[in-house]
Symmetry: C2
């Protein structure tokens, strides 16, 4: 059995043929080259699908279904209702792809949900049916899998746990709320927290580290911590506390088998994960349970979304 997964992003369109063991057997890619019309973009999406199929040495008759991950909100009819960074407003994605490829069996889903599905089935979830994927990036993206299915909610807009408030009246969030988890636990937030600490601590080694790297990044405070810089240690401790606070919230609400954490910050590995686990262990409500949620690093990196898209037929 083969399926096709498509990852439609603001920068690239990627398609992959995925086999029955959830492995990528071929991949094709083109730049999204914004701004373009939806018709132009979907012409290219169809083309990268053809290229992926060719390079896998199969035909479209071997393809059971096509799944596409896209930014924004997708409704149950496969219409992208709104995708800010693609300039999409009610784009009939499923129909447009079906017309171009002559295939009816097409699923369209939010890209963060696809990534969660990929990690659950084929990555750090090892087939787990109750799973949450958290990505610490520009924002905090999350996807929830329950009973092996994506929790999309009544309007397919579910799974936005980054926009759960953890500090009432706190830092402003891009979504309009104040105090969202994203405003404290994203890489963007970490960089802001690092900059604020640098301003308060002119003696901190973080100034030198930022100068060497040419910018303040998500690594600056972690690198300073490794050099025993007290301001850096404080930033990292506080940031990890924010991340772990939201993770514990998810544990208390859902008690999934596994929560995976992905995104650039996760390159810190156990430096990040060990204190998060310690915090969760000390704060979770399920103190008396023998079985507990595992907190692990995401496995699939950038392939999570495309593999998850290819698996949509299993989880819709």
């Amino acid at each position: 059995m083969f399926t096709i997964g498509i990852d439609l992003g603001g920068t690239n369109i990627v398609a992959a043929v995925v086999n029955g063991s959830y492995k990528i057997v071929s991949k094709a890619k083109r730049p999204t080259a914004m701004p373009r019309t939806a018709d132009e973009i979907f012409d290219d999406i169809a083309q990268v699908c053809r290229e992926a199929v060719d390079s896998a040495g199969i035909t479209f008759e071997d393809v059971e279904w096509i799944g596409m991950g896209t930014p924004g909100t997708v409704n149950t009819e496969g219409v992208i209702e709104y995708a800010n960074n693609l300039g999409f407003d009610h784009i009939y994605a499923k129909t447009m792809l079906s017309e171009r490829l002559g295939i009816d069996n097409i699923f369209v889903e939010n890209d963060a949900n696809c990534a969660a599905l990929g990690e659950a089935y084929a990555g750090s979830g090892h087939g787990s049916k109750d799973f949450v994927a958290v990505t610490l990036g520009t924002g905090v993206g999350t996807g929830i899998i329950q009973g092996g299915k994506i929790v999309a909610g009544v309007n397919n807009a579910g799974g936005e746990c980054g926009h759960m408030v953890i500090v009432v009246d706190g830092e402003p969030c891009t979504c309009g709320r104040k105090g969202c988890w994203e405003a404290y636990a994203s890489a963007t937030a970490l960089i802001n927290q690092t900059k604020a600490a640098m301003e308060e601590n002119p003696e901190s080694i973080m100034h030198q580290l930022a100068e060497e790297e040419g910018k303040v990044s998500g690594r600056t405070a972690f690198d300073a911590m490794r050099r025993n810089d007290s301001a850096g240690i404080k930033v990292v401790d506080q940031y990890i506390k924010y991340v772990a606070c939201g993770i514990t919230n998810l544990v208390n609400a859902l008690q999934p088998e596994i929560i995976c954490i992905g995104g650039g910050i996760c390159n810190e590995g156990e430096t990040l994960l060990r204190p998060i686990r310690r915090y969760v262990e000390s704060e979770r409500y399920s103190v008396y349970s023998k079985v507990q949620t595992l907190v692990v690093k995401a496995d699939l990196g950038n392939d999570a979304g495309i593999i998850g898209a290819a698996l949509l037929g299993l989880a819709k």
Copy 2:
């Protein structure tokens, strides 16, 4: 088809026979009369089941299954792992009930989850499959229904959304965390907020209202607000903001069809619900969705748990 629902509480043991239309056809009740041994309590549970069956004019042969709701954490084998207010530590509830009544088809579940199930299938959910029940009482109890099933998590301890932090480093919570939703949005929290405002505002009418009622209650600030007392208005506005903050968090995470709010505070009806809906509408992430989560008042009152227990066979 008939089933039996049992509500085991710290004060009373109630059993009801429920019919295929999810209606209670008979009910029996005894005091839990703590402290007693688990064996004594289960003797009485079996006895109230017999009484409910008798008064329904049926026999146990007409009973398809028995469901029991209990405080505390229950594992998948029907063992109550821990229930603080019953003094239960690893009580084999399913086995003990099965031995006494000669019935194998028995389900045991946390009582808040039962109440959510009852509301989803037979109450304010009108059969909704994606549903959250929130109870504003001594604590903030929640139960999550996804795809018609209880979200129990890997250890059956899921659905504790009252213990999601909304104020990092905020008010201490009974669970050990600081800043839980429960510490701001429970009836207990409202009473504390009312008392603090009374102390700060000796001229407030809340002093007179509390004296008339003999205590500060969850109604004091609402009654003062209705008399245009500025301190009372402030307490109510702030409390509603805390409640709505957590409700919006749940909307953003799960986008359920319906969230119902129950508990004594809900007697305020639209006085409470209207501003909560307004807050949710202005803060939810799903601004572009045509379909949105409905926020409604719980329907079944104290019967939610017992009806939900009787329906466990549908949702496990």
